[in-house]
C-alpha cells in the first residue's frame, strides 16, 4: 500500500487552512475590545454624575443649612460649584476635570477631593490585593488538594468550605475581630497603620475576613474543575504516553482547569471592590469604603461622585483583565473572536 499522491488534503491551489494575517485580526479584536471599554466607562460616568443630580439636597443647602447668608456669598458658592450651568455643561466640566485628575473640591473638607482620596485608595488597593493573593493561594490550594486526594482529605475540605461558603463577610469580620484582636490581642483592632509592614499587619484580619467566603468558593470550583479534567480523555492520552503524574497534573489537569478557575477568581476580584467597603467600615481602615460612607452621610457630592466613579472603573478594569486573560488561557476563545471579524 503506498500513499504519496493524495497526502495533501487540500485541493491544488486552495489552501483551506490559511487565514489572512492572524496578527492583524488579533490587533483588530483588541482594538474593538478597548473601544468598548472606553464607551462603557463614559456611560458609567454619566450614570454616576446624573444619579447624584437626582439625590435630594444641593451643595449650598449642605454648606449653609438653615442659616441666612448674604446673596453675594450664595452667588459665590454657586459660581464655585458651577451650579448655574446647564446640567450637560456641568457634566462636561466635571469630566474634563476628572480626566486631568481633578475631581473638584470636597464640600465637607474644603480640600481637593483627590488629596483626600489618594491615601484611602492606597489602603483599599492594598487590602483588595492582599485579600486576592490569599483567596487564590488558599482557594486554589485547598481545591487542588481535595481534587487530588479523594477520601478523607477531600471530605474535610468539602466540609470546611461548605461551612465557610455559608458565612457572610461581615459575620466573619466581626468574629475575627472579637477573637484575634480583642480576645487574643494578636492583631490591631482598628486603623490602617503606617509603613508597609505595619500596614500589612493591620490589614491581615480584614483581608482574612474577605478571604474566608471567597476562597471557599474558589476551592469548590477548583476541585470540581480539576476532577472534571482528571476524567478527561486528553488526560488518558497523557498517561498512555507514559508522562510522569506530576507532569500530567500540571500540564493537562491544572492547566485546563485554569479556565473555570479564572472565571470565579475574576468574579471574586470584582466582588472584593464592594467587599472592601463593608470590611473597611468594620475595621475603620480609612479606605475608600469608609470615606464613601462618611461622604454620603455628609452629602459631600464631589467626594461621592469621585469614589463611585473609581469603584466602577476598578470593576470594569478587573472584568476586562479577566476577559483578556481568558484569551490567553483558552485558544478556542481567540478563534471565536477572530470568527466575528
Amino acid at each position: 500500500m503506498t500513499v504519496n499522491v493524495e497526502r495533501n488534503l487540500s485541493p491544488p491551489g486552495v489552501d483551506l487552512g490559511r487565514f489572512p494575517s492572524r496578527g492583524r485580526a488579533r490587533a483588530l479584536a483588541l482594538a474593538r475590545h478597548l473601544g468598548g471599554l472606553v464607551a462603557l466607562l463614559l456611560a458609567s460616568s454619566v450614570v454616576v454624575f446624573l444619579s447624584l443630580q437626582l439625590a435630594p439636597g444641593s451643595p449650598e443647602s449642605v454648606l449653609f443649612g438653615q442659616q441666612q447668608v448674604p446673596d453675594a456669598v450664595r452667588e459665590a458658592v454657586r459660581a464655585r460649584y458651577h451650579l448655574d450651568d446647564p446640567v450637560p455643561l456641568q457634566y462636561l466640566n466635571w469630566l474634563a476635570g476628572v480626566l486631568q485628575g481633578d475631581f473638584g473640591v470636597s464640600i465637607a473638607y474644603q480640600q481637593p477631593v483627590s488629596t483626600r482620596i489618594g491615601d484611602a485608595a492606597a489602603t483599599t488597593v492594598l487590602l483588595a490585593g492582599y485579600a486576592l493573593v490569599l483567596i487564590l493561594l488558599v482557594g486554589v490550594g485547598l481545591g487542588a488538594l481535595a481534587a487530588l486526594r479523594p477520601g478523607r482529605v477531600d471530605g474535610l475540605v468539602t466540609l470546611l468550605t461548605g461551612v465557610a461558603v455559608a458565612t457572610p463577610t461581615f459575620v466573619a469580620a466581626t468574629l475575627l475581630l472579637s477573637y484575634f484582636a480583642v480576645e487574643l490581642g494578636w492583631f490591631p483592632v482598628y486603623g490602617p497603620g503606617t509603613g508597609l509592614l505595619d500596614r500589612l499587619w493591620h490589614l491581615t484580619l480584614p483581608a482574612v475576613a474577605l478571604t474566608i467566603w471567597a476562597a471557599s468558593f474558589v476551592a469548590r470550583v477548583t476541585r470540581a474543575a480539576m476532577r472534571e479534567q482528571l476524567a478527561g480523555e486528553h488526560v488518558e492520552t497523557a498517561r498512555a504516553r507514559g508522562l510522569a503524574e506530576r507532569h500530567v497534573i500540571r500540564r493537562h489537569v491544572f492547566r485546563n482547569a485554569l479556565v473555570p478557575i479564572t472565571t470565579v477568581a475574576g468574579l471574586q476580584a470584582a466582588g472584593l471592590i464592594v467587599g472592601t467597603v463593608v470590611v473597611d467600615q468594620i475595621f475603620q481602615l480609612g479606605g475608600l469604603g469608609q470615606l464613601l460612607v462618611t461622604a454620603v452621610n455628609q452629602s459631600d457630592f464631589p467626594m461621592v461622585q469621585a469614589i463611585c466613579l473609581l469603584l466602577v472603573c476598578a470593576f470594569v478594569l478587573v472584568n476586562t483583565g479577566v476577559d483578556l486573560l481568558y484569551r490567553v488561557l483558552d485558544p478556542r476563545l481567540r478563534a471565536a473572536a477572530g470568527a466575528r471579524r
Binding site: 503506498t2 489552501d15 487552512g17 508522562l243 478563534a335
Partner: protein
Amino acid sequence: MSEPLLEVRDLSMTIGGRRRRRTILRDVSLRLDAGRTLGLVGESGSGKSMTARSILRLLPAGARTEGTVRFDGASLPDLSPAQLRRVRAHEIAMVFQDPRAHVNPVRTIGDFLTEALVLNDGVAAAEARDRARAGLADVGLSEPDRRLDQHPHELSGGMLQRVMIAAALLARPRLLLADEPTTALDVTTQSEVMAIVDELRRELGTAMLFITHDLELAAAVCDELAVMYAGEIVERAPAAQLVSSPRHPYTAALLAARPSVERRRARMATVGGRPIAAYEAGSGCSFAPRCPHAEERCRTAQALRPLGTAEVRCCRAEELETAAAERGEEAVR
C-alpha cells in the same frame, strides 16, 4: 515456537463496586508477533477496546483483572509504576478513536508532539521540534511548520488523527494499539489515514493491534483477525481465511450483514436479536440466544478450540462447515 511480542492469556476483567461486579472480559487470549498485525473485531460493548486498555493498564476505576499479559517476556500487570511508564513511553503506543477529545485543546500541536520526547527522554526543545516537524510530514500534513503552532480546534478531525498517529510513532514503539482510529472520520479520510498508519508501521517494524467494528477494513489491513462477542473471543483465524470461510455462526452472520455493491437487496441482512454484554451472558455459548443453529448442547460452556488453522468457540463448527460446503456444491450444480 519463538516468544511472541505480546501474549495475552485468559484475561478476565470485572468492574464495579463490591456488591455488583460486572464482567467485561472473559478469558481473552491473544498473541501477536513482532511486526505483525492482529485485528480485533466486534460490536460496540464487546470488550475489544477494554482488551487494549487493559494491556496498557489504562483501566477504569474499580476494574479488576485476572490472567496473563506478557510483553516481550515481561508481565505487564506486575510492573512497578515507573516500569509501566517506561513501557508506555517507549514500547507500546496507543491511538484513540476520538482525536478531538484525546488531544488537549488548550495546548499547541507542537507541544502535544514534543512533550513526551522532552519530558520522558530529555530531548532538547529544538531537536524535539525538528522531530515533530518530520513526524507531521511523515503522516502527510501540509505545512508542518505552521501546524506546530496551531491549536487542535484549527485542524480537521482527519488532520488531528494524523497528528495523534505521528505522536504515537515518534517514540518508535514496538507495538501500536489502534483503537478504532478511523471510526470518527469520513470514508475517504478513513482510507488515507489507514494507509498512512500501515505504511509507517511497516517502515518502523511496529506490530499493531487494530481494533475496529469494520470487518472488511480489518481484513484488508491485518494478518490475523479475532472476533469478539460479549467479552470473549469467538473466533480467531488468518484474515483472508476468516472472511472467506468463517467458522463461527456469529462471524458468518456479521459477514452476511455486510452491505454489498453487487448484491442489491430490498432490505439489508441483519443479525437477529440484540448484542448482549459480557455480564448478561449465561454459562453456555453467549451467542446461542441469537444463533440460528443453536441446539441443546450449546447451553454448555464453550471453549476456544483449534480447528484447522483457526480457533473457534463453537461446538457445532465442523457440522456447520460441512453443511455450508454441501450447500455450496448444490449451488454449483
